[in-house]
């Protein structure tokens, strides 16, 4: 009876006050995660949550430098060998010690065929040509590559270390739902489709030594709550139901900034927006028409009006923060007269009708581009497709008659290999424009295995200079990633990686 009375009064308090506990941090997250197994997905949102439970050999600082995480040191021995010394005393959530054996097991699981319950890890290609992982002593491990792969350190932060004993106990099937890592938070419960509930791991070793402050997490509980609809996500932040939301829509920035309880956080993104031009077919097989198109887009106006000024215009495909960026290149200036002259020169004195293909998410931006082009000699219209269908339609530039495609390509490693090669190398998997230049291909192939950092950077810069002139794409912009946060949330800044790791975050009040 008394029990019930207590319960009822608690219920009343709850009804009146809502459920806020002092050290609980809630994140409104735009997508469902698919698994808790670090080796069994290819999803950035899934990785974001996993990073709070599992640490990796190395990680990145907020300015994207690769630094040791569970490693004490990480260094290159020769062209194909890297060595990591593991920090002493790192514990998994079950209290067992993390050793070189676990690191070896993790990478064997990622790289060996059929190593995961008869299947191969979908992340295998993110580890590159690792041929073998060798335990030198209980706290030293060496990665032996089949051929030189200079971006090995850049890609290492994507893969988190698992416990050998735990995987052997629960199996690959169990790993999907039973997380047990060495990260700052341990799993309480994953409510599928709804939320991932984590709690502070008291024995955490403290995280990367190069990213102060080190130490265990500063909140007791961390909850990732899936709220797929952007309008609802913003509403949840304004209602105080969550403290942090990802993918804050640009137009909501004013409201979030105007609200006394919330604020906006920004960081440089890693996703470049551009328009594929079909280089294989008229009219865009003529470089002058491609240049005209580049001169016809008023990037700054669209950035200012539609993206709230939160983007930088691009002169090349990669981010200004990326390794190998050619800073000498300038974005094509908005110049309608020049665009019209170039079009006339190419035999279209009376304008040129073109269609931009786009998916629903970027309809606005594509329509704005079309409007801009239509004032500069083109007659541009927009055609809407489903994203996946569009990729299929465009995948072979020889075979279709589409003209322009508005799209983006993300590159979390900030190395040209993740964006330049797939989009601009002849016949690579993301090369939808059909661009093909033997000299560029040669440079890109050579850069793949060039171990001299400066020389490799020069190769990419040279390739960019060639491409800038031939302009197979319309470079658009690189938007910032925008987050909404409550003012309770302290000591957290978004990272360009797009990963929400909250071990240093605090909540007040």
């Amino acid at each position: 009876m008394r029990h019930a009375a207590v319960a009822v009064s608690t219920a009343l308090t709850l009804l009146l006050a809502g459920a806020a506990s002092a050290a609980e941090l809630r994140v409104g997250y735009s997508s469902d995660i698919t698994t808790l197994d670090p080796a069994n997905h290819r999803s950035r949102v899934t990785e974001g949550v996993i990073h709070n439970m599992y640490d990796a050999v190395v990680t990145r600082t907020d300015d994207m430098k690769v630094v040791p995480e569970i490693a004490e040191s990480f260094k290159q021995i020769d062209a194909t060998t890297y060595e990591a010394k593991i920090r002493k005393g790192i514990k998994f959530h079950d209290g067992s010690a993390l050793t070189a054996e676990d690191v070896k097991f993790t990478f064997d699981r990622l790289t060996k065929e059929n190593a995961m319950g008869g299947k191969t890890s979908p992340r295998k290609s993110l580890v590159g040509p690792v041929a073998d992982t060798i335990v030198v002593d209980p706290l030293t491990v060496r990665f032996k590559l089949g051929n030189p792969w200079p971006i090995f350190p850049a890609y290492l932060p994507f893969n988190q270390v698992v416990s050998k004993a735990h995987v052997e106990k629960v199996g690959t099937d169990g790993m999907a739902t039973k997380a047990m890592g060495s990260g700052p938070f341990k799993l309480v419960e994953w409510r599928r489709g709804d939320s991932v509930i984590l709690e502070r791991f008291a024995d955490y070793y403290g995280g990367a030594a190069d990213i102060p402050p080190a130490g265990p997490a500063r909140v007791d509980r961390l909850i990732f709550k899936v709220i797929p609809e952007p309008a609802s996500r913003v509403a949840a932040l304004m209602a105080g139901e969550v403290d942090l939301i990802d993918e804050l829509p640009h137009h909501a920035i004013k409201q979030i900034e105007g609200n006394p309880k919330t604020r906006v956080l920004k960081t440089n993104g890693t996703r470049s927006f551009f328009i594929d031009l079909n280089n294989r077919k008229p009219p865009f097989n003529d470089a002058r028409v491609r240049q005209a198109a580049n001169h016809a887009v008023n990037r700054q106006l669209i950035i200012d009006r539609i993206l709230n000024g939160l983007a930088v215009p691009l002169a090349t495909l990669i981010s200004p923060d990326s390794y190998g960026y050619n800073a000498a290149l300038k974005p094509y200036a908005y110049d309608p007269a020049r665009a019209k002259a170039l079009l006339a020169e190419a035999g279209h004195p009376n304008g040129l009708e073109v269609t931009i293909d786009v998916d629903n998410a970027f309809k606005d931006q594509a329509e704005a581009v079309a409007a801009s082009m239509s004032q500069a000699g083109f007659k541009a219209s927009v055609r809407l497709w489903e994203r996946t269908a569009l990729t299929d339609l465009w995948k072979d530039p020889e075979k279709h008659d589409r003209q322009m495609q508005f799209r983006s390509w993300g590159d979390g490693a900030l190395d040209p290999v993740g964006i330049f090669v797939p989009v601009l190398k002849s016949r690579d998997r993301g090369n939808f424009s059909g661009y093909s230049n033997a000299e560029v291909d040669k440079l890109l192939t050579a850069a793949d295995t060039e171990t001299d950092v400066a020389k490799r950077s020069k190769m990419y810069q040279d390739a960019q200079a060639i491409i800038h002139k031939e302009t197979p794409l319309i470079y658009l912009w690189l938007p910032q990633d925008v987050y909404g946060a409550s003012k309770r949330l302290k000591s957290w800044q978004p990272s360009p990686r797009g990963i929400i790791k909250l071990h240093r975050a605090q909540v007040e009040g």
């Binding site: 997905h41 191969t120 309008a231 139901e241």
Partner: protein, 335 residues
Amino acid sequence: MTPVALVERLLQLVPVLLGIAAVVFFMMALTPGDPVELMLGDALATPEQKESLRRDMGLDRPAPERFALFLKNAATGEFGMSFHHRRPVGQVILERVPATVELTLASMLIALVLGIGLGVLAAVKRDSWIDRVATVTSLVGVSMPGFWFGILLILLFAVALGVLPVSGRIGYAGEVPFVTRFLLVDTLIAGRVDSFLDALRHLLLPAVTLGLAMAAFLMRVTRASMLEALAQDYVTFAEAKGISRARVLFRHALKNALIPTVTVAAIETGTLLGGNMIVETVFGWPGLGRLVVEGIFTRNYPLVQACVLLYAVTYVLLNFCADLLYAALNPRVRL
């Protein structure tokens, strides 16, 4: 219903389910887009990686062969591996069913209460202004796009007034262990009245959004059957005998009038079940509808196929129940 008739009825299902299986399989197969490319996204991918994923997903085999395999496995309740979750489809789906069922039942309850209430009122006060107001009220929910109505409710009750939550099934102070995965049941099993109330608060807005959209239909059915019942001889007779009007209405007319409403409600539960993906998205409700729509967009063939079959079986069973219900409630009908 005789056992023979029952078996006959069940046998009729076989071609229907086969037909649905074929439609969903070939619909997904015809949809442009490569599940492997989609899963790999922008990050590095070698051709070998693509091949191994294709093998894992069973996509290295031609469509007719995959269809045969799908049918063979479906017969034993085995639906393969969900492409993106990389777990058995059955598991992935079953985890999401209770949330959807809970929402559906709550919505249907709201629709029934509103529909019957307004329907009886409208019939009794036929052609008066009350009838008109009841009719218009019942139609408001069905006349708005669900996502818009839902967001308006969120902005009003959660953001402006701050009395109800925006999304999810329960607040995090009130978690209880999953037993049945029906939170209204699990909170009571755990003896947590506070959590029960919290779950109820979370359920309210999505259930109202869905329930109001269904209310108009039930209201119409109730009104019509109530009018019919009121015109029957026995009602006139009872009134002539001097039995009070309220008693006549509720003891005699309503009882008969409700038979079609309840039958229709049983069938429409299937419609609600298969039509709540938008409300689930708006309210962050972790149900099946959202899963299957994501499945279509991510070309998760096995997931979509299994979900659609599940919906179909449920629909057929609900119809069957509706028939039984109709017979049970209406002594004049013998199946």
